[in-house]
Amino acid sequence: MLKQRNRNAMAILTFEAVLGSGLFEWVPAWLDRVHTAIWVPFAAYVLVAAVLSLLIVDLIRALDPQKAPSATVFDALMRTRWLSAAINGLMLVAFLIYAGIALRTAIHLIKYIALPYTPVLVLAVLWMLIPLQLFSGGFDTVLRFEVALFWPTLIVAIIMLLLCLEVSDLANLLPVWPTDWGAVARTLPQLLYLLPGWMLFAVYLPLFRDASRHLGSMRLMVLTGFLSAAALQALNIGIVLVDFGPYEGATLNWPIVEAVRIQQEGRWPVLFLLPILVAVSSVINLYAYAAYRIVVCYTRIRSMWVAALLLAIVIILCVIPESLKYVFSGYAPVLELAEAIIYAALLGLWIRTKMKGRPRCS
């Protein structure tokens, strides 16, 4: 029987968690600050994210395969129950907010490109019908949805991106070396906004650990997934730069969409929207299911009503802010606090595991 939770699926899940979390809305801000030296903070992001990936995988390797599946890696490794429950609660809140943000961002994009007059609520409710269907089948169903759509979506997206090079000017990449290192340094803290996808690992990677005992390649597959997503992000940044240059690129809301729009007399943005929406749909499913899993593990109520309630919360979180600007500014403090605690806990847990020298499983 073919295993659902296999190495390839793990790589794809990593790719989608990483890519969907940052919808390229950060590109104009980075371009504005560091111009063509955007590769420096991007390289720093890749480095930090790669280290974070290895750290989390290392933690997962320390899990006891004989133990019953836990909600998150904190449940599995922390002795203090109330502390792990508190961190999981924090993760639950963060996941719901991130799902709401991703949903609102996608709806904003839909309204910007195709349906300017359709109410946000209508689009949000209709969108949530997808995860509602998937959650009834559990994690494997969510995974099947993500994995089966991966290749067609990726191929369409890459072809469309490569076609954008038609009107490119490589001179826009110059100067390559940063002229203002201070600006680069000031951009670095913003890397943290690109890391929420790694919180999903704390929920999903233990599931792969439970399902499979072959963990030798887990690190490799997570890195493959992450580096592939980073390569696609790099292609995106490169296209924006060669098509518009750093100054014009910084003034656009969605530079990559505009890069697609200037090809073929503005015909393609709607088509480009399709792979983007599939990617966003994937990450919304991942966030919402992670929240659902935490709730189910604590309440032991595995019901469609619980799923519907959580998805209703996501809809509310998506609809409440008046505009996309308020979505980011309104939720940022909560998310910054939650992320700081969660990543600190992860780091602490990793250090403790290392110091204790817990026997590893091969």
Binding site: I110, L134, R144, R267, V270
Partner: protein, 478 residues
């Protein structure tokens, strides 16, 4: 005779029940004339019985073996068993102390013909019939494997329909076999006349519009499925075998694919996939392009489309829905009519009706082209149930597109995809092997790779790959 009366009392029918006394033996023979071979009754039963009567009842078994030169002979005192056998085409010799049941079956059977719904260009020309025995012989004649298991079930408190679960013991997944047996044992009906009815009893999700078992009339396809480790379910009285588990790609594969070279096989499969996409999406995309996203079309084409729609009173969505409905109507009417008339009607419906509708200004010529392409696409899908679902989901997709444009099409497609992700057939996910990114098994899915490449048995249907691995190992060792 009392024993005869007892049997007749249990049967409650008189039309074709024959009771023939044999005065020289002092016994009576009971049989149902419509389902026995009368020549065998005369030659193999009556004659020996007249010439060699039974002495004492306790010698009955020895007597039966020596006197009655028929294969299946059973001695019993149980009236229920006797009556059941009578309805199965046996004759009963009623003795005062018991019964001798003799198999003299002689039902009129249809000879195997090429299946009308699954034509083949290069493959075999025979198909299953309504006779279970004929169907089993068709399988046995091609698959001479001692590991072939035929497990018998009987369904229908009234029809007593025989059902066979067929599989290769060493290739089928034991878990799936166990699950199939469990589901079959759960079936409780008073009448089972067709495999289609049984399918609905044992499928995973009865609410899904998608078929979760694959039906086929072709013995070669059935055997191919058995060799992949799948199960076949044969129902007496039905020319369709059910294959389980069924995954989405299995509905787009035909026997011909494997009779052809990889290039032709792949090209045909590609055409079928394209037909599927065309069938599902073309009306919706036409609406999206003309109503919401005209920028996606070249200006000249757009102007041409606008010109053809000039003077059409219906909105384009109603126009599409109306034409799609007409096509379904023509197809259904064509199915129910006598064969020759049905073909003529299809031509009349397809061409004349479409032409008249265009001339009357109800629909635009382009819409006729789009709907025609859609219908053609659906007919290129090899499996009837899969083609039907494909045609039906166009309607809600039309609605979604008419409200949200191309994003409605995408949204509805994602919803269907989510449903397919949750769907399973006997525990095997419907989107296997794509959903597991099992690249090895992709070689025989959308495209067909050269046969040498497909050395491993596909794990799609949960079959162990053991013997293939062994073969490779032996080859390596020399």
């Amino acid at each position: 005779m009392r024993s005869t009366q007892l049997v007749l009392k249990h049967m409650r029918t008189a039309y074709d029940v024959v009771v023939r006394p044999v005065p020289t033996s002092g016994v009576e023979i009971v049989y149902i004339s419509s389902i026995v071979d009368l020549t065998r009754v005369e030659e193999r039963l009556l004659k020996p019985l007249t010439m060699n009567p039974l002495g004492r009842w306790k010698d009955v078994e020895k007597w039966a073996q020596s006197t009655l030169q028929l294969g299946e002979v059973q001695v019993t005192r149980d009236v229920e068993t006797t009556v059941t056998k009578l309805f199965d085409g046996h004759a009963v010799i009623c003795f005062p102390k018991g019964y001798v049941v003799v198999n003299v079956q002689g039902l009129q059977r249809r000879t195997p013909e090429e299946p009308a719904a699954e034509m083949s260009i290069r493959g075999p020309r025979d198909g299953f019939t309504e006779s279970l025995d004929t169907n089993v012989s068709q399988i046995r004649s091609r698959l001479r494997d001692r590991k072939l298991v035929l497990q018998t079930f009987e369904f229908g408190t009234r029809t007593k329909t025989k059902v066979l679960l067929v599989y290769l013991e060493d290739l089928a997944n034991p878990g799936i076999v166990e699950e199939a047996v469990r589901r079959l044992q759960r079936v409780q009906v008073d009448g089972l006349l067709d495999s289609g009815a049984l399918e609905q009893w044992i499928e995973d999700n009865p609410w899904s519009p998608y078929p979760q078992l694959q039906s086929t009339e072709r013995p070669d396809k059935t055997i191919s499925a058995l060799l992949e480790g799948r199960l076949a379910i044969l129902v007496d009285g039905s020319p369709f075998a059910l294959l389980a588990p069924a995954v989405m790609v299995s509905f787009f594969q035909t026997s011909d694919d494997y009779s052809q070279r990889w290039f032709s096989g792949s090209a045909i499969r590609f055409v079928r996939i394209f037909a599927l996409v065309l069938s599902i999406f073309s009306p919706s995309l036409y609406i999206a392009f003309t109503m919401y996203n005209p920028e996606l079309l070249p200006v000249n084409l757009l102007l041409q489309l606008a010109a053809t729609r000039e003077g059409i009173p219906l909105p384009i969505v109603f126009e599409a829905a109306f034409m799609e409905f007409m096509v379904e109507l023509v197809r259904e009417a064509g199915n129910r009519m006598p064969q020759q008339m049905g073909q003529s009607f299809s031509v009349v419906g397809g061409l004349v009706l479409g032409d008249i509708a265009v001339q009357a200004g109800i629909v635009s010529p382009m819409m006729v082209v789009v709907v025609g392409l859609t219908a053609l696409g659906a007919f290129a899908i090899p499996n009837y149930e899969a083609a039907f679902v494909t045609r039906m989901i166009r309607f809600p997709m039309l609605m979604a597109t008419s409200v949200f444009g191309i994003l409605g099409t995408l949204g509805f497609a994602l919803l269907v995809f989510a449903h397919l992700s949750a769907l399973k057939s006997f525990g095997i996910p419907y989107l296997t092997p794509f959903a597991q990114v099992a690249y090895v098994d992709w070689s025989d899915t959308l495209l067909k790779s050269p046969t040498q490449w497909s050395e491993l048995r596909p794990a799609t249907y949960g079959s162990p790959r053991g013997w293939m691995r062994r073969r490779r190992y032996q080859r390596r060792r020399g």
